[in-house]
Symmetry: none
Subunit: 123 residues, 4 copies
DNA sequence: GTGGTCTAGACCACC
DNA sequence: GTGGTCTAGACCACG
């Protein structure tokens, strides 16, 4: 469900945060649902538990997650709306990436081809 | 000729490298031409000369530039071909950025909107 | 493990790069192993951390090292093969040095004497 | 008679100085002979005249060349002996190059093979 | 004027 | 603890 690319320049904890927000944005996780336990997630992603913990802690500070008595992190009430705010950040990042391609000499048709291909190969 | 975005998360020296490769890819700079002197470029970009020097040195190691002490940096012979290969790398990076957006929950229509806007605002 | 000659005309960072490649070529360091931390190595070699960092960064760009923030630098997968190719480069450099001696008037017996002496004094 | 490698890391003026000393060491030029005119040499080597001039000036300071009234640089009296001293410097440089190869992981048999090959291909 | 190197010290971010 | 980046300023050497 959650995918991580350890070799990406993007920080792992950011990938985790983005991934969780994504699951909510797509409706695969809803308010009140339990987020995967830190340890299990760390094992599944082959990542240091501290890194997952950090991601969760930051999401908690943003009010996106809530830790309940009796254990477990749960998706907070306003999570969906927040996830949409997160989208703005994503749009911004994507825009930067595109501008970087432009500065590197990539032409617009090239860029659109890349978009097209990525879309097709995703399924 | 060369533009830099100091607020971008992309490292300045990498932006310079991409920029130079871009100029060659677009044909604005050709094999044998002299690249701008490190210090001048540093002043123009409002950047520390060391940063430019780093970029140039790395381009030299790649065989993209040839530098002679006291004689400036010159675009190497196979530079254009290399620049085209560099484009492949850019495409790859862009693709990763898009996939990253997807994992974060950005929908395809959103992505295409971002592409469109960036294109328009560029001029 | 790694030795540097600060009085050599060869740049320190290049010596570090060559040294690391050498350790891999000799099998003392293998794919996946962690390279010495930048700061520790800097202290050990009595060199500025920036210098080591430069060497490591360039080795990363070559795909010889993989560096993760906070996770140290690790010998990359294809490192050994690369190291062997690097040997070719060394042979080439050495050859140029010899030709340079020849152009300066050094006779062949002289050259072989130098080789012999260097070999003996090394231990 | 004199060969220069503009892409070598060795400074051009040093190559010129070494080359001249070499010609004397080999007996192709003798005390009292006229050294090639700066301009002609610069043209022949495709090098900046200033660079040749600098080399000649330094050789003059060392007492290896003498500029005579009426123009022209001539090989000085004690030139041959000096050329032999220059050989010591060459030996030292060569030694450094060999040590550098060693640090890079080149084995002794490899080194001797390189020496052998270079010797054969010279003729 | 040019490039090349190193040092020093600071800042940020990740694990 | 780790690496990454940038700035600042110095020094050297070539053309």
């Amino acid at each position: 469900m959650l995918e991580i690319d350890p070799r990406s320049p993007v920080a792992i904890n950011d990938q985790i945060k983005a991934g969780l927000r994504g699951l909510v944005a797509k409706g695969l996780l809803r308010s009140g649902d339990q987020a995967p336990p830190i340890r299990s997630l760390a094992v599944a992603l082959k990542v240091n538990p501290n890194t997952v913990a950090r991601a969760f802690r930051e999401l908690s500070l943003e009010g996106f997650l809530e830790s309940r008595r009796g254990g477990g992190n749960h998706i907070a009430a306003g999570a969906r709306r927040q996830a949409k705010n997160g989208l703005d950040e994503l749009r911004c990042d994507l825009r930067e990436a595109i501008e970087q391609s432009r500065r590197g000499g990539l032409a617009w048709p090239d860029i659109e081809t890349v978009v097209e291909r990525t879309r097709r190969e995703e399924v």
